[in-house]
């Protein structure tokens, strides 16, 4: 951790990874919340437990759907972006040029991207969660009018701080995975434009795969330590 701290590049990455992923993540969260509310309602009505819908929706979105959907959407968008950008820099000798000027390319390129992914993923997940809950309420409201405040009160009635802590920790790990794999695949690119395409594809495939695997492992660990 030495000067310069590459604040300019870090800010650019916050914008690239965070701001520009927000619309897609929000849309995915909204769609999941809406569909989940519609699907859950018919099942809960069947058992006479439709009053549980807000709590069920909030619990499933915050615990699982929000983090994993955000992780997978960002894997696709950002993983490919980092893999392609660094791959293109590699084949056009821009990474060599950084190294030749006495600057550590891993600090300038990889560290900034990985840190941005780690910090941005929890924030994007919060946005996806909010959109999911909000559109879940809209879906519920279409079937049976209920105020948003009441929906939220019912939804978060049994929630504690631990319910937010564990999913946030998971999204930090997802961010680390996406950043690491994107940078690794990008910086080892070989073979011109074909190699860039290959790096982008493998960055998406591997980061999605590892996000899913990490989700499975982390859910188990979280259940052991937090429940």
């Amino acid at each position: 951790m030495r000067r310069p701290f590459e604040g300019q590049e870090l800010t650019r990455q916050f914008d690239e990874i965070g701001s520009k992923s927000l619309p897609l993540v929000a849309l995915a969260g909204a769609a999941i919340g809406f569909v989940l509310a519609l699907e859950s309602r018919s099942s809960l009505v069947h058992f006479g437990a439709q009053s549980m819908l807000p709590a069920a929706l909030v619990y499933s979105i915050i615990h699982e759907t929000g983090p994993i959907v955000t992780g997978l959407v960002v894997s696709g968008r950002v993983g490919a972006g980092i893999g392609a950008e660094l791959g293109s820099m590699k084949v056009t000798e821009q990474i060599d040029a950084i190294e030749a000027s006495g600057v550590n390319p891993y600090k300038f390129l990889a560290f900034t991207r990985i840190l941005a992914c780690i910090l941005v993923l929890p924030l994007l997940t919060i946005a996806a969660d909010f959109c999911g809950v909000f559109f879940g309420w809209i879906a519920e409201n279409l079937a049976e009018p209920v105020s948003f405040q009441r929906f939220i009160n019912q939804g978060f009635a049994g929630a504690t701080f631990k319910d937010f802590l564990a999913p946030t920790f998971r999204t930090v790990v997802f961010g680390l995975i996406i950043g690491l794999i994107g940078c690794f695949q990008g910086m080892r690119t070989k073979g011109g434009t074909a190699g860039v395409g290959l790096s982008a594809t493998s960055a998406v495939v591997l980061s999605s795969l590892f996000v899913i695997l990490a989700d499975v492992i982390l859910v188990k660990i979280i259940l052991v330590f937090f429940s």
Binding site: P4, S88, Q94, A97, E99, S101, G102, V103, N104
Partner: protein, 272 residues
Amino acid sequence: MIRSDQQILLDGETSGAIPRTETSREKHDVPAMVLRGLHKSFERQIVLDGVDLTVKRGETLAMLGRSGTGKSVLLKLIIGLQRPDSGSIRIHDQEITRLDLEALNAIRKTMGFLFQHAALYDSLSVEQNIAFPLKRHTKMTASERGDRVKQLLSSVGMERDLGKMPSDISGGMQKRVGLARALALEPAILLLDEPTAGLDPITSGEINELILKLQEEHDMASIVVTHDLQSAKTIADRIALLHEGQVLIEGSFEDLEKSDNEFVSEFMKRDS
């Protein structure tokens, strides 16, 4: 305390800095780069097979050779982007093949490198590209940095293109910006990888004149890898021809023209 030139020279050797106090004649006798017995191969393909070269301070060496003979690899070995399989590379009398990254970066700061396709950072503007090494290796304020960038761009005739992105300028302009970036830290050694490749004859001529002008101004030791014989004749003090992994001949342009060696005469004839 008055220090002798010898003492300053020794201090320069230990710190990797360039002693600046010798007389002009002495200065040009001091080798900036000494390469001995350099070997480099990729898998089974031997690229460099015992290259010996010395480039003195203030001298420009043009490196000629057929495509794929390892000219660009040689430049990458000198700046430490690749490691030789064996052999010695001494820069400012310091062996660089065994240096750790930190020490190597200190040496790299005394060297400028122009890549074959300029390798400008495409997410940064022309101004930011040139300011990149200044921001990281000097204590200049933002305004001092801005002045230095303008001065460098002015020296390559690009002062009006400060805010443009690399994708918005031509190949020749990119080479000029790359050259300005290579000169940003006032290097003692300049490595140019095909500075005129892919450019039209007029732009090539302009780049050659620019290199000559900058060499006169900055008095650097330079290695210019080129396929352009006319360019080599214009800008180089000495020419080396790389063939089958070794320096086949070294001398002035006239020496190469007069050579009896079959490959050398064939190379000079075909290229001209």
